[in-house]
């Protein structure tokens, strides 16, 4: 299907322009219109879901000549994994728009930035070559910059700049890797072609492979984020507006892991085998460390942010183990974490709209005034801490099962993260919702309204559905993972 891929980028872009064209006095139109516009890509996802067999590995669909003198094309394609992530992205954008409060919902800039973000994230997942991957990888900084900068919290300046600088610092390594790959491609084929097909046909020497792996992976790992390079994440989450946090946790963090799965491992497998243990160690440290730091947070959003570090540590552990099951688990966990943490941030956003505080100590006994909210929050918390039957379990379970044969000791330690997750989530829940209503303001607070329920309900359903029937997702992931797994196996088989 020609044009199917890049329309995921184009539609949001056109939508942005369209939104900007509406005059300001019709502010009440902004949100309904954006909701409608963001339904279109989702509809497209549905169309693809119904009409295309996507349980495949990466297929190039569209190709544009970009710099013909250098033989560089912009390539777009789809695979099962990409499809899942794109659907997640489109869904989260829609839901985050649904969950907006009046303040943001009536601002053109805010809605436009969200659409731009959607476009660039879709672009990353669709990219069929290194250069478009990098372009979209960097382009998503722009909408994030404005989202965090204009609509962020008190300390947003610091957080935004930190976010940007960390990401850019990572992305220069990716750029260097891209350039190096291009040069190698030039040396062997005479053009700087950077599409995945060409790269996979190149043969790298062992040292080249290692260097390239390090370059790419370092950049992506900052985005994931992995242990010592994670500090941008809590700040960014705390200061970002709710919709920004939802998308940041929901899809932006996946960009890094996606890059590693799509680029680092299949193309530079030797490097991967060299450094997988290092990544695994850092991931496990991240799992435990994120959880431990989350325990003592006083800001609920920061707590969830640290929990993200812990959960993404699982993803990286699964990836670094390089087993079939663990890779599948990692991809599933990416989706699941997107759903769960998206929902958690959305829920925090709801309460922030009401009380304008996120300090856990400002709440307490909320279950009495907001029972539905408490129930939804508890449900999501349990999904987040990996209760069987909910989605969080599937990914973590598969990762642990899969990575055990490779890293017996490390994955056993990682399993302890499950315990810590229960500690920080439930302790926070207990402090926020149980006990007596101490603060006067919390007594008058009203429960979730239907609009908010509509925004969060699809996520809850997804949590349950994936938790009970993960084969569905697995079937989409299968082919992508087998490509990656085969590349690893080939190298391991040779040596």
């Amino acid at each position: 299907m020609i044009g199917l891929t890049y329309s995921f980028v184009l539609i949001p872009l056109v939508s942005t322009i369209f939104i900007f064209c509406i005059p300001k006095r019709r502010a009440e139109l902004f949100r309904p219109l954006t909701i409608f516009l963001s339904l279109i890509p989702l509809g497209l996802c549905l169309y693809i879901f119904l009409n295309q067999n996507l349980k495949t590995s990466f297929n190039v669909v569209d190709k544009f000549s970009w710099i013909s003198a250098y033989g560089i094309n912009l390539t777009f394609g789809l695979s099962g994994m990409s499809f899942l992530l794109i659907t997640l992205n489109c869904l989260l954008v829609l839901l985050s728009i649904l969950s907006l409060n009046e303040n943001h919902g009536h601002s053109k800039g805010f809605l436009g930035s969200l659409m731009l973000l959607q476009a660039s994230v879709n672009g990353v997942f669709l990219a069929g070559d290194l250069i478009s991957l990098f372009i979209f990888f960097e382009a998503l900084l722009i909408p994030m910059y404005f989202l965090m900068g204009i609509w962020g919290g008190e300390n947003r300046r610091y957080a935004t700049i930190k976010f940007i600088l960390f990401t850019v610092f990572g992305s220069i390594f990716i750029l260097a890797g891209t350039i190096y790959t291009g040069v190698l491609s030039y040396l062997s084929s005479g053009s700087f072609a950077l599409d995945f097909e060409t790269i996979s046909s190149l043969s790298f020497t062992s040292s080249q492979s290692k260097i390239l792996f390090l370059l790419f992976t370092f950049g992506f790992l900052i985005k994931v984020p992995i242990f010592p390079l994670h500090t941008w994440l809590p700040d960014a989450h705390v200061e970002a507006p709710t919709a920004g946090s939802i998308l940041l946790a929901g899809v932006l963090l996946k960009v890094g892991a996606y890059g590693i799965l799509r680029v680092s491992i299949p193309f530079f497998t030797e490097g991967f085998i060299e450094y997988q243990f290092l990544i695994a160690i850092l991931s496990v440290i991240g799992i435990i460390y994120g959880a431990i730091v989350a325990i003592v947070q006083i800001d609920i959003k920061k707590l969830i942010a640290y929990s993200s570090i812990s959960h993404m540590g699982f993803v990286m552990l699964g990836i670094s183990a390089g087993r079939f099951l663990s890779l599948e688990g990692a991809v599933i966990q990416m989706i699941n974490h997107g759903i769960t943490s998206g929902a958690l941030f959305m829920l925090v956003g709801f309460i922030y709209d009401r009380r304008h505080t996120r300090r856990i100590s400002d709440f307490g006994g909320l279950k009495q005034s907001m029972p539905i909210y408490a129930g939804v929050f508890l449900f999501t918390s349990f999904a987040s801490i990996g209760l069987p039957g909910l989605n969080g379990f599937v990914g973590e379970f598969m990762i642990l099962m899969g990575s055990f044969p490779t890293f017996q000791f490390l994955s056993s330690i990682a399993a302890f993260g499950v315990v810590l997750a229960a500690i920080y989530m439930l302790w926070a829940y207990q402090r926020m919702f149980n006990g007596k209503l101490i603060h006067e303001e919390n007594k008058e607070i009203h429960d979730l309204n239907s609009k908010e329920l509509v925004a969060v309900a699809p996520l809850l359903l997804l949590m349950l559905f994936i938790g009970i029937y993960p084969s569905f997702i697995e079937s989409y992931v299968l082919q992508d993972v087998s490509v990656i797994y085969e590349s690893i196996n080939n190298i391991l088989g040779e040596s």
Partner: protein, 490 residues
């Protein structure tokens, strides 16, 4: 007569842009001295002069397609791809800057014509500079251009900063000229060379080993003189002060035209004259690039004055462009692309500055653009586009230029250089995004006074911004052009 003119290679088309500009300037001068004329007449004359100049540049393409690379006026004027590219760029700069230049000059009241004359003359000088084959010719063109710019910097005489800028620019510029011409003299005395092709021929003839040291030092001094003009560190110190002090409306022109002319000349010297001994200058250029990137990044991070910030960013960008030029053919081609893209952004930014702060102003604090988003969305967004372009964010021409430049550098195995340049982009994000933050994000307490912007300015900024994005999305044409420039040396 015709024999003589043929013997000396007389050809009016080659120097037609210069001649047109001079004639336009003289007509203006005539009107100023003799008859009282309306402003609009002068404006029409100037504008049509510029248009004719562009047409003359077009004519030169015809000549080139006819004769190919060739010398005129007994090896004084050269017509090659570099000079054509330079001509196009200079003509474009003149054309694009017409609106801010005219606006600024108009505010000078009784000095309008003088200012315009100076600008036209300086452009004619720079035309000669990029056309020059002979180094003395080059020196004359450089001086015509520079002396006009010294005066331009100081035209806003009631402003102390403007005076200061003028004097600093003048003293340091003259010093640089001295060094340049001394270098020429040393090269001449030691190797009997005065024109760019002579170098290549002589080196090819004698071999690199026999070149006397004096010649090397002479070439070095020539480079130093030119590096001063492009504000590469460690010769950057004049740039921020001059940018800050000069009337804002002129800075875009001043900054871009000098850079274009000097870069074209440096590129030609590197590509043609010293191409066989370019490796000998590697350490020299590396030091310059390294210092440019380093000093530019460091100093730009702490600026509160926007014009100074752009000046220091220019230092960094000079480092980038220089790194391509001094690496080889493909690097030069990507530097040409970079130069083109950078010039467009630079002009756009200074046009915006001149609209916001007033054309004659000198200081332009960062606070002055606070609330730009509220005030004028169009300006704010275009400003963001230009800044993103400078920072090298994808989807702008800045990214493409950085990407192909670094790709070529990597292909030349200049890994260390690439890593420094990459690191500097990280710092770049810090200081380029800061003005954007202030313009678009920071909230303003007091109501903002609305800016008066003419339609033509909208058109100019809009087209520059869209070009910046266009070259980011579809860079093919420009890249092919930039490769055409160096095609002979591939």
């Amino acid at each position: 007569m015709s024999q003589i003119s043929e013997a000396i290679g007389f050809n009016l088309i080659v120097i037609s842009p210069t001649v047109t500009l001079v004639i336009t300037a003289l007509i203006l001068l005539f009107f100023t001295i003799t008859i009282e004329t309306k402003m609009i007449v002068k404006k029409v004359i100037t504008f049509s002069g510029i248009l004719v100049t562009l047409f003359c540049v077009f004519l030169k393409f015809g000549l080139f397609s006819q004769n190919g690379v060739s010398s005129y006026f007994t090896q004084k004027i050269l017509l090659d791809e570099f000079s054509l590219f330079g001509n196009v760029l200079i003509g474009l700069i003149l054309f694009l800057n017409f609106i801010p230049i005219w606006g600024t000059s108009y505010e000078l009241n009784e000095k309008t014509s003088e200012a315009i004359i100076l600008i036209l003359m300086s452009a004619s000088g720079f035309f000669l500079m990029v056309d020059a084959e002979n180094l003395i010719m080059l020196f004359i063109g450089l001086e015509i251009g520079s002396i006009s710019l010294y005066a331009l910097a100081g035209l806003n005489r009631i402003d102390k900063l403007s005076n200061e800028a003028s004097l600093k620019y003048f003293l340091l510029g003259s010093l640089a000229s001295c060094i340049f011409i001394y270098g020429v003299a040393l090269v001449y005395v030691s190797y009997s060379l005065m024109s760019v092709y002579d170098f290549a021929l002589a080196i090819a003839y004698t071999g690199p080993d026999l070149i006397p040291l004096t010649t090397f030092i002479g070439v070095l001094l020539i480079f130093v003189g030119l590096l001063f003009k492009i504000a590469a560190a460690p010769f950057q110190s004049w740039a921020p002060d001059v940018y800050q002090g000069s009337p804002t409306g002129y800075v875009g022109y001043m900054a871009s035209i000098v850079k274009v002319a000097s870069f074209i000349v440096i590129a030609r010297i590197c590509m043609v004259s010293v191409r066989f001994i370019l490796e000998d200058f590697e350490t020299f250029f590396f030091t310059v690039i390294f210092l440019s990137v380093l000093i530019g990044s460091f100093f730009a991070s702490i600026q509160t004055d926007l014009k100074r910030l752009i000046a220091y960013s220019g230092v960094v960008q000079s480092g980038f462009i220089l790194s391509g030029i001094t690496s080889g053919v493909n690097g030069t081609s990507s530097s040409m692309f970079y130069l083109f893209a950078y010039i467009l952004q630079l002009i756009g930014i200074f046009t915006i500055f001149s609209i916001i702060s007033g054309k004659l102003s000198s200081n332009f604090e960062m606070d002055n653009i606070r609330g730009l988003m509220k005030n004028n969305r169009f300006l704010a967004i275009s400003f963001c586009v230009f800044m993103f372009g400078l920072a090298g964010i994808p989807l702008t021409s800045g990214f493409v230029s950085k990407f192909i430049l670094l790709t070529n550098l990597w292909a030349y195995e200049k890994y260390f250089l690439v890593s420094i340049l990459l690191l500097s982009t990280v710092v770049g994000f810090y200081f380029y995004l800061r003005p954007i933050w202030i313009a678009t994000i920071e909230k303003v307490d007091e109501p903002i006074e609305m800016l008066l912007i003419q339609k033509s300015e909208y058109l100019l900024i809009g087209s520059l911004a869209s070009l910046t994005i266009l070259f980011g999305l579809l860079p093919n044409t420009l890249i092919n052009i930039s490769r055409w420039v160096v095609q002979n040396y591939l």
